[in-house]
Symmetry: C2
Subunit: 144 residues, 2 copies
DNA sequence: ATTAATTAGGACAAATTAGTCCTATTTGTT
DNA sequence: AACAAATAGGACTAATTTGTCCTAATTAAT
């Protein structure tokens, strides 16, 4: 569904949100450890999220990654997915046709429409705070 | 969502179904042309579908691919997807966790569950005949 | 029998995605 | 000023997916 990069990006964002919620800036090393991802690869993805202004980075000693407290509840999964995988997941045709719309639908266009819309809605209505709180309360997990 | 191989496999299957509906066996060359896919690569995918007994092949002159008429309406998209991409699309975790279930859910487990179920249901309830007839009647298209 | 049309399949090549390594830069601490 | 702890980023490697090419096997028609 999502690329590996996107999976790491989502998990990392959730972890950063969780820490930032408690006022703790976190290092790449800690993030990679906690979400069980390759460190250097995760670094690239975080750079990407920083460039897209989804998370903030602070260089130097005691630096790391953080999300401003007030932003945690406003960042939607859709922003992260779009930043990393683009938005092909929304308008992309299920069978890979270059043109596929109401006027010229692929054979599964209608069947996919509902699913894509549901996915889109889910990504646009789920924010980092919800997910971070679930982990803090032990309801969900970021690794294993 | 699906791999390229799976997209080609689905399109090819639909095209073969459509021809078989009219009693016409079709060659690899014709299939690749009609679904706009690379010929040799498509050959591999068709071999796979033959091994999985989803379509039938006939070697030699005047040979080609076909689906028994009585089978066209019974072949579900889910069988094709499973043969080519496996069933990770069903149980695979949205964030790539190795373990992700009700007891140990990832942060987006619940959000994804609905979408995956809808996708599963769609693939299991859509058969090749429906799709082939839509194309024959000009309602949907296999290329462009 | 020979030929032409066709699928089967192995070995390879190209493209994309995933991941690593090294160096530069920044910044707080001493 | 020097050092240590961090992110930034370029260049590289590895793995996977996508795609090609060639040869073998099969089969209908002549």
């Amino acid at each position: 569904m999502f690329s590996k990069a996107c999976e790491y990006g989502l998990k990392a964002s959730i972890y950063i949100a969780m820490s930032s919620y408690d006022g703790n800036r976190v290092s790449l090393k800690e993030i990679a450890k906690e979400i069980d991802s390759p460190e250097a690869f995760t670094a690239k993805i975080l750079q990407d999220l920083v460039r897209n202004k989804i998370i903030k980075s602070v260089k130097g000693a005691y630096g790391g990654f953080e999300i401003e407290k007030g932003d945690i509840a406003t960042i939607k999964l859709s922003q992260i997915v779009k930043a990393i995988d683009g938005d092909s997941i929304y308008h992309g045709c299920g069978l890979g046709l270059h043109v596929c719309d109401e006027n010229h639908p692929c054979p599964v266009h209608d069947q996919f429409k509902g699913i894509r819309n549901q996915l889109k809605h889910m990504l646009e209505s789920t924010n980092l705070e919800q997910l971070a709180l679930d982990i803090k309360s032990g309801v969900s997990f970021l690794k294993l």
